[in-house]
């Protein structure tokens, strides 16, 4: 199941996405495009650490919308 968890203490967003639906290629592309915005660790979960003081909630959801755009 997909989930978004926000860790305000660690200042990171943990995204658990369905790989079968989004596809590894698309996720890797999105990580590459987000290089300047955030550091993203992709193993079983996606851990997004924003580079600036961006809204954690916003950056997580925007990343999901970006994935939808890439799937087009």
């Amino acid at each position: 199941m997909n989930s978004i968890k926000i860790d305000k203490i660690k200042n990171e967003v943990v995204l658990k996405l369905n790989l079968e639906i989004y596809g590894k290629k698309i996720i890797n592309q999105a990580i590459f495009d987000y290089k300047s915005v955030a550091d993203i660790d992709f193993c079983e979960e996606l851990v997004i650490i924003p580079k600036d003081n961006n809204d954690l909630n916003l950056i997580g959801f925007e990343f999901c919308n970006y994935l939808v755009g890439l799937k087009q």
Partner: protein, 139 residues
């Protein structure tokens, strides 16, 4: 009117779709249209059914959240109908495109032939202009 597959939660809404009816591509197409209004995550199983989770970008009540879900349904239907029509008309479109490209190529060869014939006409010296004066009048 209530949709059975709709599940309204605290801050977002979940809609479940049968994969046999709506394809994954169409769900993504509809989701893309709504990305300026809402945040969307697609979950579930490709074989059985996909779950679309929608969060509004603005703070709205459950009534408006439901409206967002209906909007998503409409967009999904639009995308699916467009896809169905384009697959139906696909062959015809292909034939028309082929014909258009072929007919566009034919005049080029014809016009080239015409140009060649013009050059030939130019070389034909009907009024004997190319013959020197001495040769023509004997002086």
């Amino acid at each position: 009117m209530e949709i059975e597959n709709l599940n309204i939660l605290k801050d977002h809404i979940e809609i479940k779709y049968n994969s046999k009816i709506y394809s994954q591509e169409m769900i993504f197409s509809a989701a893309y249209i709504l990305t300026d209004k809402a945040y969307i995550i697609i979950d579930g199983d490709i074989k059985t059914g996909l779950i679309v989770k929608i969060w509004s970008k603005e703070k709205i009540d459950s009534k408006n959240l439901k409206k967002l879900a209906y909007d998503f349904n409409d967009e999904l239907l639009n995308c699916q109908v467009y896809e169905n029509q384009s697959t139906k008309n696909g062959k015809l479109r292909e034939i028309m495109l082929k014909r258009a490209l072929i007919s566009n190529m034919t005049p080029i060869t014809k016009s080239k032939e015409k140009n060649d014939s013009k050059e030939d006409d130019y070389l034909e010296d009907e009024k004997d202009i190319l013959i020197p004066w001495e040769e023509k009048y004997g002086k």
